[in-house]
Amino acid sequence: MDILHNLMFGFEHALTLQNLLYCAIGCVIGTLVGLLPGLGPLSTISLLLPLTYSIPTDGALIMLAGIYYGAQYGDSVSAITMKIPHASSIVACIDGYQMTLKGKTGLALFSAGISSFIGGTVAIVVLSTVAPALGEVALLFGPADYCALMLLGFCCVGFVTTSGYILNGLAMALVGVLLGSIGTDVTSGRHRYTLDLPFLSEGVGLISVALGCFALAEIAKNLDSRSQFTPFSGSIRLLPSWTEFKRIIPSALRGSAVGSFLGLLPGGGPVLAQFGAYALERRFSKYRHELGSGAIEGVAGQAAADEAAARTSFIPLMSIGIPENAVMALMLAAFIVKGIQPGPNMIGQHPDLFWGLVASMWIGSCLLLILNVPMVRYLLSVFRIPYSVLFPSILFFCCVGTFSINNNLDEIYITAVFGLFGYLFLRLGLEAAPLILGFILGPMLEENFRRALLLSHGSFSIFLTRPISATLVTVIAAFLAWQVIAYVRQGRVRAVT
């Protein structure tokens, strides 16, 4: 009953008028940016991060979290109605759009809404039981274990991104680590890679890197493709029949379970969870023969998994202190800006913040359900805004956001430089998301790496003798070996054909 007690404590903090308002703002903004193509949670959180400096800590974090999980629902809506794929709604485009073609848009949206709510609720239970327990395990982590965990995260995050090659993601994460080493070395006080520019002695700003690589590069890509979406104009009949409703529940529960689990893993999150849920439906659903041609299960399972994973991916961040994907890396930055170090001690030191955030996630689920399911047709009107209005505005917000960190206009130059690099990376098929993860974890990785070697007097065996890091290193090695084998096999197939 401890958990119930703690959750009640959390609701007391989350149900203040102010925090409710921030939660609602976060959910609405999240849904809107989830709907619109080319504005994901990553660019939105990096745009809004500097603007949260003047907001109280719990409100700011509740709002940023709301943007993340709100975006998952918005993603599904635009995938179902218009087949716009976002990173986390690729699967929703299959069955969701098929349902729209059959005139069952309302049913698909209702399934997604209800399943998201179920996924969110299950994830809250997982979050409030697993996070404190994992926090206790994390107290056993030494520097070598932290290093191994971060490296595993770098390998996995590359695997999850669209290209599927571990090497691409690993390379980008390590480039991020190198960028993170710009500035003053903490141990020796020596300036590194500052090019003798005084403002670089503090390092490159996170917001500059994030906005350049995500917002700017993404705008340029959208402008290049000039794709126009015709706004959805069909009719929406929301309420399902009882037989249809009964089909939603089991697949939503399966999706919640797999989503909650996949959200916990390094590199995990909604992007991975949707595929897991779809694979599970294909294996176990009673209606699996309908999958692919507009089955309710194809929408419900992935929507539940998306929402569940978006929430459980907070667990490694809050109980170990290591973010597992790029959005969580930005959340880590938000915590640190507010003077809070996520990690094993956070739940003990800031129980009001932790439980308040957990409770707000469930309140967010309710808000999303109440606001969005009946009001979805009004939300879809954002597609009437032409992109020619949207992108100059985003550029302006990029400038204001970069400026507001240090009240320094020169930092916008750095944003521009990273915009160019971001676009180059995009065109070369390299994803920028691992770069942000590496950039934020870089200084932490270096510190732990040096500390581990100091403890072992320079011997790398410390990574293999400690049980936790030995396990993690084995997993990394298995991952890399599997990639090499898969590549060689692929090559053989190519050579034969």
């Binding site: 390590l174 505005s393 204001v400 070697l453």
Partner: protein, 140 residues
């Protein structure tokens, strides 16, 4: 030389050299007493190695062309740089007008009336930011 993998590898090797060579000049130290150069040097070596692997793959495999369109990204960067220059030497309002009118050149259609409306909206937002979030912009 329009080969995505080859250029990707070249870029990674270039980044590795850019960070790795100066790292040699910072004190490297030993593994037990690492200097400031050791960690960046190690990481650059791995990045360089991955870059070489990609270059080799680029040589062996069927080339996949890259599509790098200079125009749009250049317009975006020019509008950002111009924004900073105008905002520093003049006023933010003028910079916003410049940003909107130059950046929309990259869009599919151009409308002066719409641009004026966007400018008005963004300037209003800038005033709101200054009033409510205490943003220190020299607007007028």
């Amino acid at each position: 030389m329009n080969n995505q993998l080859l250029i990707r590898g070249l870029l990674l090797v270039a980044i590795a050299l850019w960070f790795g060579v100066p790292a040699l000049n910072y004190q490297v130290g030993t593994f037990s007493r690492a200097g400031p150069g050791l960690f960046p040097l190690l990481v650059s070596c791995i990045v360089g190695l991955i870059g070489v692997v990609m270059m080799v793959r680029g040589w062996v495999e069927k080339p996949e062309p890259i599509t790098f369109k200079v125009r749009n990204i250049f317009i975006l960067l020019a509008s950002l740089v111009g924004f900073v220059v105008i905002a520093e030497h003049f006023r933010v309002i003028a910079a916003v007008v410049y940003l909107v009118f130059v950046s929309t050149l990259a869009g599919s259609d151009y409308s002066i009336r719409r641009n004026l409306l966007i400018c008005a909206m963004l300037i209003a937002i800038a005033f709101a930011f200054r009033a409510f979030l205490g943003l220190n912009l020299n607007l007028i």
